[in-house]
Symmetry: D3
Amino acid sequence: MTRFPVPDFADLPEDLRERIEDETERAGFTPNIFSAMAYKPSHFRAFFAYHDALVDDTALEREEIEMIIVAVSGVNHCYYCNVAHGALARIYADDPLLADQLVANYRTADVNDAHRTMLDIAVKLTERPTEVEEDDLETLRAAGFSEEAIWDIAAVTSFFNLSNRMAMFADMRPNDEFHALGRE
Amino acid sequence: MTRFPVPDFADLPEDLRERIEDETERAGFTPNIFSAMAYKPSHFRAFFAYHDALVDDTALEREEIEMIIVAVSGVNHCYYCNVAHGALARIYADDPLLADQLVANYRTADVNDAHRTMLDIAVKLTERPTEVEEDDLETLRAAGFSEEAIWDIAAVTSFFNLSNRMAMFADMRPNDEFHALGRE
Amino acid sequence: MTRFPVPDFADLPEDLRERIEDETERAGFTPNIFSAMAYKPSHFRAFFAYHDALVDDTALEREEIEMIIVAVSGVNHCYYCNVAHGALARIYADDPLLADQLVANYRTADVNDAHRTMLDIAVKLTERPTEVEEDDLETLRAAGFSEEAIWDIAAVTSFFNLSNRMAMFADMRPNDEFHALGRE
Amino acid sequence: MTRFPVPDFADLPEDLRERIEDETERAGFTPNIFSAMAYKPSHFRAFFAYHDALVDDTALEREEIEMIIVAVSGVNHCYYCNVAHGALARIYADDPLLADQLVANYRTADVNDAHRTMLDIAVKLTERPTEVEEDDLETLRAAGFSEEAIWDIAAVTSFFNLSNRMAMFADMRPNDEFHALGRE
Amino acid sequence: MTRFPVPDFADLPEDLRERIEDETERAGFTPNIFSAMAYKPSHFRAFFAYHDALVDDTALEREEIEMIIVAVSGVNHCYYCNVAHGALARIYADDPLLADQLVANYRTADVNDAHRTMLDIAVKLTERPTEVEEDDLETLRAAGFSEEAIWDIAAVTSFFNLSNRMAMFADMRPNDEFHALGRE
Amino acid sequence: MTRFPVPDFADLPEDLRERIEDETERAGFTPNIFSAMAYKPSHFRAFFAYHDALVDDTALEREEIEMIIVAVSGVNHCYYCNVAHGALARIYADDPLLADQLVANYRTADVNDAHRTMLDIAVKLTERPTEVEEDDLETLRAAGFSEEAIWDIAAVTSFFNLSNRMAMFADMRPNDEFHALGRE
């Protein structure tokens, strides 16, 4: 993050330090988003609590969540999220090519028809939200998504319209590790 | 909300019922966003916790927060947020005309130069986030905003890029009361 | 109007004074557009003669005309027309919520299917006129509009693409009264 | 005009017939806009009265008016106005190349600095009217335009945002003669 | 060309001089694109070799190629190509009106249904290439185009997205002769 | 390439086979663009001759050329070029992060001021070519680029506006190898 100071780990409240330690242990390095959001602890807590709700209480597969995130971040042109969630999309989908496809143009991604529909609506909600109408929900139902899954598609898309903007405003930079993860 | 069912109040978890009761007492009616987000309690909690962090731990005046929200919702064309936060903007700024100005075109709003700068950046981050650069932060500093206030401007803007999309996706409708509040 | 001087009423040609007196009597106040357009009497005459032709010799209901105006002004982001014609839309449609819906996103407005079609075409002619084709007229016919009504939809839309731009260029400001009219 | 019937000349009200006869005598042929607008006589009268006010009571040279019209019609992609007013621009400016430059990209037109400024603002008011601000009027003043001329630039621009849309909606087609006029 | 020097004919490599002499003999004047591209002989050779491949080895009629070029140049707003290829479109299609239609809005052009489809895809590939999908090729097949013709439509469109940009960047100006050619 | 057949290597003209063998030897695999363009040998020859002119006779460093290509392909959303030229950008610039930055948003790339200016103009010429003016060339001169280098920046940008469109139209897919090349 080049535009706000990253606080010293030692000076952080205990709950932030614990969360960061957990993430560091899991990933093998501290994803920069945790260091960056620690600039304001109340926002750190709110941001990751929302993120956790999206991935822990969901009718979607984690692979689907990461696909939405990378497609949305691709059209929003968010460097941090393209790269960090690109790595997660490669890992969760076990597909080394998927993230580069989603970043470039989700229409080129090798995904099934239901996932294509899911990404169509996620990108529409990102780029042209005024045009989302009942028909779009009907299309998602026809593709096999439950009511809760449809809500979750919107919720993930909406959250990353927040997340992309925070990352872009603060100029958050992905860890070097993310660029190569999941490409083997 | 026309596109997802609104759960019965009696069936909600206790913490949601308490929050809704508090809000109802404060406003004199239950703002529809609370009933709507209760469709998924984990998201209700995350959504309002983030909202509370933004308004409770901030370097901005509440009036400034509502100005940002209405300007952002205006360019995103969100009916719910234009009307509900339009009412709050009228009340907190004690100005019956401000919200209609911000909804139409924030450049027509009768605001001081610092607030104009604040809204310029909030709308830029909403519409053209790729183009936000260090210069924009410098402009905000020159207008008198502290580092924390600058972060908060981005955070409010980003959150309502989430909020607008959830409201538009679910077709949330503002309470009738909001249309007229603060116009006297 | 902040960008051109508003002439003194006493100095205006007699036909302008008469028109302004009539309007003032009808509304209970002088709508600012009359004072503003009086800057150039030949344009005042042409502007209101065109407006009168649109509302006096028409196959549309007045309520339909005001719906088109507010939807068009909403996408053009015209503060004056949103507010002044928003009041007229509320009054003619006898609906206190309609104008705020149309200003935000006409797709959220509680209107019947024929009116939705009418607004779809009016907004298309405003935003993407190159794409209007014979099919669009066929769609209007199928929705029950006569040939003359179809012409009139285009004529009202076109005139407010003029009117919005004059109001925005001169920074015309709606009378305070318009903000609240028709909301009871 | 392919989308509405053109009424028989003999069936028109006398004032329309007189106007059409005058125009035919002047041009050597009847410009199609007159036949087309005669579809609805009340609109014919309003349209040409407005047009006459713009060209008869103006602080601009006729050549400047036609330059604005062709630049505006170029960005709006109006076939009728590009061609019919392209001919007028060639004739009034006595320049066989000017109209093709203005239709393609007004920035390529061989015009003086004041006219370039005039066209910058006319195109801005056409494409991005929300962004027009006091600074734009100041720029026009600095380029030597009087207050009335500035109003007139806006008025001509606004009227052709009406006119382009009527011509495009009705699919008005320019007379063959206009394509070649003024090219020698 | 106003932004780079045009080299003296006498100083050019022999192959360029021969090509320019051939073109001059054919047209009766030297089209400015040849003088302009001679600024860098290696690019001159590559540019015209590509152009020649497109018009000499093709499943399209020359008239179709020029229609695509003018429609693409119209939406890209390229003064040089609008005018120079407008002349060629008039000549090859033997239609004095076609080029002005295509420059303004290809949807107004008097062309058959297959050519309309061809232009729809050419303009889509120009303006919204991310959205081109297999369905678009299917639409072209249904309109009667062979596989090679479909490839050629894309190739011509793509080349003029190059050509328009070179002409616009260097500010190439069409010869006066092109404006009037083929209008009789 | 999913939308046109890839011809058998054995059936290709000898000059194409030789070029493909050379490229295969150099890269260790046959970049798919060569197999794809072989669909039409005359276009293969023209395409690679133009490409060769751009990289062999140039005032730019190869690293600069690849930076322009990836920035242009990023805003055009071309999967093939993002990935294949992303690999080349990493290799020529000896920077494993550069391509992901350029694909996402060239403004986030760690490049010097002259290269930032170069990319600003390349992206402007790609997205808003009508707005390129003499001032942009002056800005490049001030950044230290020679006249020939400025021409070359435009030429590379223009060629990849061709190349991106051919790749997107034909749905060319990058070789798996490109995704990981140069990331170590």
